[in-house]
Amino acid sequence: MGFRIEKNPAVPSRMVVFSFSVLSLFLASAVIGIIFLAYGINPIRAYTDVLSKTLGSFYGLSEIIRKSIPLLLCGAGLLLVFRTSFWNIGAEGQILMGALAATWAALFSNFPDFLLIPCLFLFGFIAGAVWGFIPTVLKSRFRISEVITTLMMNYIALYIVLFLIHGPWKGKTMRGFAYTDKFPASASLPLIGNTRIHWPTLIIALILVAAIYIILTRAKLGYEIKVISQSPKAGRYAGISYFKTVFWVMIISGGAAGLAGAGEVAGIHHLLRHPNQISMGYGYTAILVAWLARSNPVITIMTALLMAFIFVAGDTIQLSFGLPSQIVNVSTGLILFFLILSEGMMRYRISWKSKEG
């Protein structure tokens, strides 16, 4: 009797994938519990406290929804991109460029008031799409890895925003702080009641999810993505251009991230400020949103809410227990670790053999 680990040729069923994902989340929260213990906090009490202050309170719930908006926009776009095996890790920079372009529209353009908000989103979309388009050109023309270019372009975007808020765009009314001036009222998105949910962006995000669902199930682009995701070679024989597909997909994904950035500045901040305050790593977290949802864009609604919950839970932990909000990054890292591990486990199986054949 012996056993060996061999590759499992079968594609894991939805149920298996789902249970592994839930298990990953569970294991990550167990490890976080150990950190609580190390700080002398009863983890059970900490978790009930976090739940009551997030899911159990109106303010907590509204915050979860508002933080899920950028995650949903970026996550749904990334889901589309990752199906083509194009590693766009540049959503963070695409968000910032969207925020930057929206700020320009709000402060320096002379659009009439009623057109301002649509223009703001349009500019955000275009800027994000351009920022997503450059890596595809660099890859198709020069064969440069998109992992590197999208990553580098996040930092280029970051320093462009920093340059603008410290230099040319620095607000004259801001007493030396590194902000732009405040947006005019006509450039501020309406909110739901006294929450911070800027509903126009939320609706755009939901429309995007629906659109991506339709693209993947009914449109020609979706068919091409499907062929490419299974075998790029088969795609080539079928006359599908890899780069043409990736080009459209990156326009959508970059544009969506740009919309997220526009929504953040016009809905929440009403000015352009330090990039870490605008995005808080939404672009990187969205990778997790897309991955947890696997290939179904509708599920990104759930996974975006989940990651938003973790963000809000981090704030709560900081307020209630005085732990640094960095605990959010610990959980994100841990969830990713366990997901990768489960990904590996799903692809292998243990086979028991009485005799080697």
Partner: protein, 310 residues
């Protein structure tokens, strides 16, 4: 005279600030040469910075601090190695990012009580009468830490191993064509594991240099994105340890210049340079096929190797 002191100061700070970049880059060069892309450098550096600081604070011995940083950085890199070599997931990108998230997060949580504590012990400063007696440029070397010299020596040794020994051939072939390497009897997995480990150890030490020596204290997120500059530098130096030497000091000088030239030039425009020049370097590199081949971009970079699938 004014100009001369300015140049000397810049070079001296370039040496000091370039050292953590150099250590990280040397490690990442080995990692990528063997075919593994590790985006966790920032995470491994900050873990090393924290471990190094705490150990030095507790024991009063900076060398133990560097050792602890090496162990912690190495251990973190083993997680990445396990995911990308043993489990063979196609998601090296994500696993590296996860290490960065985790490292920044964990040190942020654990390090809260350590902020602002002074560190008495520091790494010895090596006075080298020989180097300091060099006319004009001599003052650059005064007051530099022992790690500055060690990292320069390391760059030379690692260059020699990579290009002049059979180990180097094994490493490069694992990153170039793992199938052929395997056929020639190279244990690709082992080579990759060792290279990733080298990367983690050096990134950890680079972090420790920051917290023990450059700014003897602990601040949350004190690596300030150096890990990402390392990723850029690895490419900018075309995966060559000697070029990394120049590149690290070049990018290191930007940190000093962006501070020093602030009245004349927006610091952000200088800080953008590492990322912008890396993309431009890649464009130039890929303009010519022979150029690309001669410089040796690891062809199998980021691809897991499945022996049984062949």
């Amino acid at each position: 005279m004014e100009l001369q002191t300015f140049i000397i100061d810049t070079l001296s700070r370039a040496l000091a600030y370039g050292t953590p970049l150099l250590l990280g880059t040397l490690g990442e060069i080995y990692c990528e040469r063997s075919g593994v892309l590790n985006l966790g450098v920032e995470g491994m550096m900050i873990l090393g910075a924290f471990a190094g600081f705490v150990t030095t604070y507790a024991t009063g011995n900076p060398f133990l601090g560097v050792l602890a940083a090496a162990i912690v950085g190495g251990s973190a890199s083993m997680i990445h190695a396990f995911f990308s070599i043993t489990i063979k997931t196609n998601i090296q990108v994500v696993s590296g990012l996860a290490i960065t998230f985790f490292g920044l997060g964990l040190t942020g949580v654990l390090g809260r009580g350590w902020e602002g504590k002074p560190l008495d012990a520091s790494l010895p400063i090596i006075g080298s009468p020989f180097l300091e007696s060099i006319p004009v440029l001599g003052p650059i070397f005064s007051g530099q830490s022992v790690l500055v010299y060690i990292s320069i020596g390391l760059a030379l040794i690692l260059w020699f191993i990579l290009f002049k020994t059979s180990w180097g051939i094994s490493i490069r072939s694992a990153g170039e064509d793992p199938e052929a390497a395997d056929a020639l009897g190279v244990n690709t997995s082992l080579v990759r594991y060792l290279c990733v480990l080298t990367g983690g150890v050096l990134a950890g030490i680079g972090g420790a240099y920051l917290s023990i020596d450059y700014r003897p204290s602990w601040t949350q997120g004190m690596t300030v994105g150096m890990g990402w500059i390392v990723i850029a530098l690895t490419i900018f130096s075309f995966w060559n340890p000697l070029a990394a030497l120049i590149g690290s000091y070049l990018f290191g000088s930007l940190f000093y210049l962006s501070f020093k030239l602030q009245p004349y030039l927006a610091p952000e425009l200088l800080m953008i340079m590492p990322y912008l020049t890396t993309i431009l370097a890649l464009v130039l590199l890929n303009c010519s096929k022979t150029f690309r081949r001669r410089l040796g971009v690891p062809a199998a970079l980021g691809l897991p190797y499945n022996r049984e699938e062949k």
